[in-house]
């Protein structure tokens, strides 16, 4: 671990000032400290924001949810409103990490979480994300768990968060506070595809602070849920996952929100699948036909070709679990 300074701030003004001077925000620390131990992250100054008043979950006027950035994963997962309004969010959270980590990690930190690519985490390996221009060891290396969507020649690392897949599906907004005031960024624009700059992972300006994730209201009744496919049954990142929310009225799907995890360099929204569903009546054949569009544009690597098939099957399964039939 490289030496660093540590400051605890008690209000957002103080935090922003420290952030502007180049300080790195830390809350639960479950990713950052881990990476600092591996010297992958070498921040000079840590700014502990865990004392800021960003720990509330509120229902917005129109029936959406605002989840404060400092709400822990376990708090969010257990929250009555999260569970009743958007089960997909609580399920994604509960299928993440371990109970110990969920008790420490925050929602803001969860969407800022860095990839599990093993080459990224090994400072002696080439990684454009860690060291721009050094190359991507994963592209032709051991890449069973890597991404098949949104990749570039510079980076094939997956985004590891499950909650972010649910947020992407639900078209959440990320609320940010910076020196110039507040702004709101759609989830789809917040996390960046690697392109030729995989070191840039979020659309954050220097010193900006995440204050909340806001899930917009959706017409009711809404059924939603999260499916995570992985080698072991707990405490592992997804090989594939699917977040699905469906609003069915009069036997017809009126709204569909679908995204996939474990397969993309960012949580992978599936608009083609959604379009295929809207206006149709739930059926097993519909699920299969819609899911067949899940892996459009996939660029599998040597060890992860199976993810194409697995992704389609994961999405089909979760459409059926949420939408019924069979």
């Amino acid at each position: 671990m490289h030496p660093f300074t540590y400051t605890r701030v008690s209000d957002t003004r103080e935090a922003l000032a420290a952030g502007r001077r180049g300080g790195r925000y830390i809350a639960g620390g479950t990713t950052l400290v881990d990476l600092m131990r591996e010297t992958v992250e070498r921040p000079e100054a840590l700014v502990d924001i865990s004392g800021l008043p960003l720990g509330e979950i509120t229902v917005t006027e129109r029936g959406g949810l605002r989840i404060g950035a400092l709400v822990t994963m376990s708090e969010a997962a257990a929250h009555r409103k999260v569970r009743t309004l958007f089960p997909v969010v609580s399920e994604a959270l509960e299928l993440s990490a371990s109970a110990q980590l969920r008790n420490m990690a925050t929602i803001g930190g969860n969407i800022m979480q860095r990839t599990r690519c093993t080459y990224f985490r090994d400072v002696t390996a080439d990684c454009n994300k860690r060291e721009p221009g050094s190359g991507c060891a994963a592209l032709h290396g051991v890449n069973r768990t890597h991404a098949i969507l949104g990749t570039s020649d510079a980076c094939v690392a997956t985004h590891p968060s499950d909650a972010a897949v649910a947020f992407a599906a639900l078209e959440a907004q990320v609320r940010l506070l910076g020196p110039d005031g507040e702004r709101q960024v759609p989830f789809a624009d917040f996390l960046l595809r690697p392109g030729s700059t995989p070191d840039r992972e979020q659309a954050l300006r220097k010193g900006e602070l995440i204050t909340a994730v806001e899930v917009p209201a959706l017409p009711r009744p809404l059924k939603s849920g999260y499916l995570k496919v992985r080698d072991r049954q707990s405490y592992e990142f997804a090989l594939t996952s699917a977040a699905v929310a469906l609003h069915v009225r009069g036997g017809v799907i009126r709204e569909a929100r679908v995204a996939a995890g474990g397969v993309g360099t960012v949580p992978w929204k599936l608009p083609a699948v959604e379009r295929h569903l809207v206006g149709e009546r739930p059926s097993d054949s519909l699920w299969t036909a819609a899911a067949a569009k899940a892996a459009e544009g996939a660029r599998p690597l040597q060890h992860n070709r199976f993810k194409v098939e697995l992704l389609e099957r994961t999405v089909a399964r979760q459409l059926r679990i949420v939408g019924g039939t069979k």
Binding site: P3, T118, V142, D231, R317
Partner: protein, 731 residues
Amino acid sequence: MSPQPQAAVGAPLSRVDGRLKVTGNAQYAAEFDVDGAVHAVIVDASIGRGRITGIDTGAAEAQPGVLRVIHHGNAPKLPYRDNAGSNNPPGRRQRVFQDDRVLFHGQPVAVVVATTLEAAQHGASLVKVEYDAVQPSTDLHDAERDKPTKYARGDAEAGLRDAPVRLDVTYELARNHHNPMEPHATIARWDGDKLTVWDKTQWVVGTHDELAAVFDLPAEAVRVINPFVGGGFGSGLRCWPHSVVAALAARETKRPVKLVLSRKQMYFGTGFRPSYEYRLRLGSDGRGRLTAAIHDIDAETSSYETFTEAVMGAGQMTYSMPNVRQAYRTVPLDVNTPIWMRGPGFASASFVIESAMDELAHKLGVDPIELRRRNEPNEDESSNLPFSTRRLRECYTVGAREFGWQRRSARPRSRREGDWLIGLGMAAGVYDPGRYPAQARARLDADGTAVVEAATSDMGPGTYTSQTQVAADALGLTMRTVTFRLGDSLYPQTGPHGGSSTMASVGTAVHDACNQVRRQAIKLAVEDRESPLYGVKADDVVVRGGRLHMKDNPARGETYRTLLARNDRTHLEAGGSYTGPPSPARHSYHAYNATFAEVAVDATLGLVRVRRMLGVYDAGRIISPKLADSQAIGGIVGGIGTALLEHTATDHRDGRIVNANLADYLVPVNADVPDVRAIYLDGEDNDGNALGVKGLGEVVQVGVAAAIGNAVFNATGRRVRELPITAEALL
């Protein structure tokens, strides 16, 4: 066993050290508070093979707290006396910081010693090493093989050629790492020319001998201490280079040095279960009687040492057949040297043989258990010796009954619950337990308590508890009044704590020592005019709860305390020993099991979930049933890992292990472990040990992976011949 009443042996007792462990008071190697200890962190090679061309230690040495950076450029030459013991395999062992050569990715190239752990870690990250790298060879499939070790009986080629039913299958087994919870760690302290080491090891004697050899010290100048081991599974069976690094760093800095391997360093700083490519050709007659088998076994080893394990035994003696040929070739690669891991050799071979038996059963349309029964040998056909005990048939019968084997449909894919295909599988398991000469010492004090010592280890099976049970019964004392001590090279010498050898070997020595002490006391009593036992025949006296009395007349007797006090004896003492198995061998002595698995496989997503497991064990006498259950559960969990999850992945481009951490190297978590049940056949095996035991810790993992693989086949109709079995193989 002795004529003594058995009160402790066979009782389902909790660990005697349980309280120490759960309250954090059990001291593990790195936890000893050695005055003035400083910290050492190893710098690992970041190439897979080549030479070091330069080391820049300036930035590291400039850090506050950093005392010294030691590397091949400034390290003293170490004697490295030859040592054929200490579990060193043939070859030329890694010699730390003795030259500029890099033999594998992760090899220690320098060590940073600092006053704090943080300074040492930071210093290590600042050491800049330049290399002249060459392409390493780490792929088992793409490297030259050593000359084979061979075995043959009959004419396997002809037997196979003439067999009406043939099978030719190749299985791939991934490299596995032990991943004990406690990392390997060493604290080294020099007092003049004397070296004391607190070291995580399964064999203080082996580590003692190796350190004496490396530094060319007389035996009495080295002491190795290790009372607790936080899991081993074999990783502690050798003295690894980091222990030498710690001792070297302590000598160079003239301070005690503590060195703890990081989780990552555990993947190349200690050994592993080697990967295998194993081709098996089987021939049988139309009824499934085996006629011939040809085994071609390739396994990885390092470029500098030839590691071998007992991978040939199972193919020679599990089933009856006239013709067998085996060729076992090690494949030297640019990797560090493997080491035994739970069920060594037999666990690997059993996956192949037991899967192939399942394939053959399916091909013939014979029940897998029935096929095995038809091939049950009457003697060990590799040695022509009779079995001491072999109750595999009984394991099948009990297992089939208790597991509900009759509910299994022979036709794959015939049972479905929603999205899940359900399958049942079984396998037989064999293990050849070790038996090594051992010594022990027992002392009965005037206060009626006893201390028993042996330089063995307790990596988790509960040596402390089971040896206390043996000692308590032999001495006629309660568990509470007996203290068993282990883990110090000053104690009476024993062999390594591995290979299921400890109960038979150390247990026999302990039993012997305690019997002698008891007999001394009885002799004292029956020859003492003041004793109520005066004149009684020694054989008619037993001891129970610290009181000697006539077997047939419990009222007539007295306590050890009274006896010793009256005779002015502060203590009675004796050394006991076990001299090893009968030589030449009179019997084939093996532990057996039948292991059963029920799995569910997601029909579309390919996920395998183990739902139930049962092991039925023919392991001789069970000394400590509660600890035995821990062993069985642990072995089965290990087998689930091998079957479905565990795989050390190497990037062959530069020899780097890419999943050297517990997030990416998957071991089973609680959610992966179902209902596990263990049954032990009653009985004992008296081939050369007084306790009647055969050893349990290894055999419990043998056959587990095959039982699961066979259940996967029964569920899906897919035969996966590569471990671990992952979703992509079943999509």
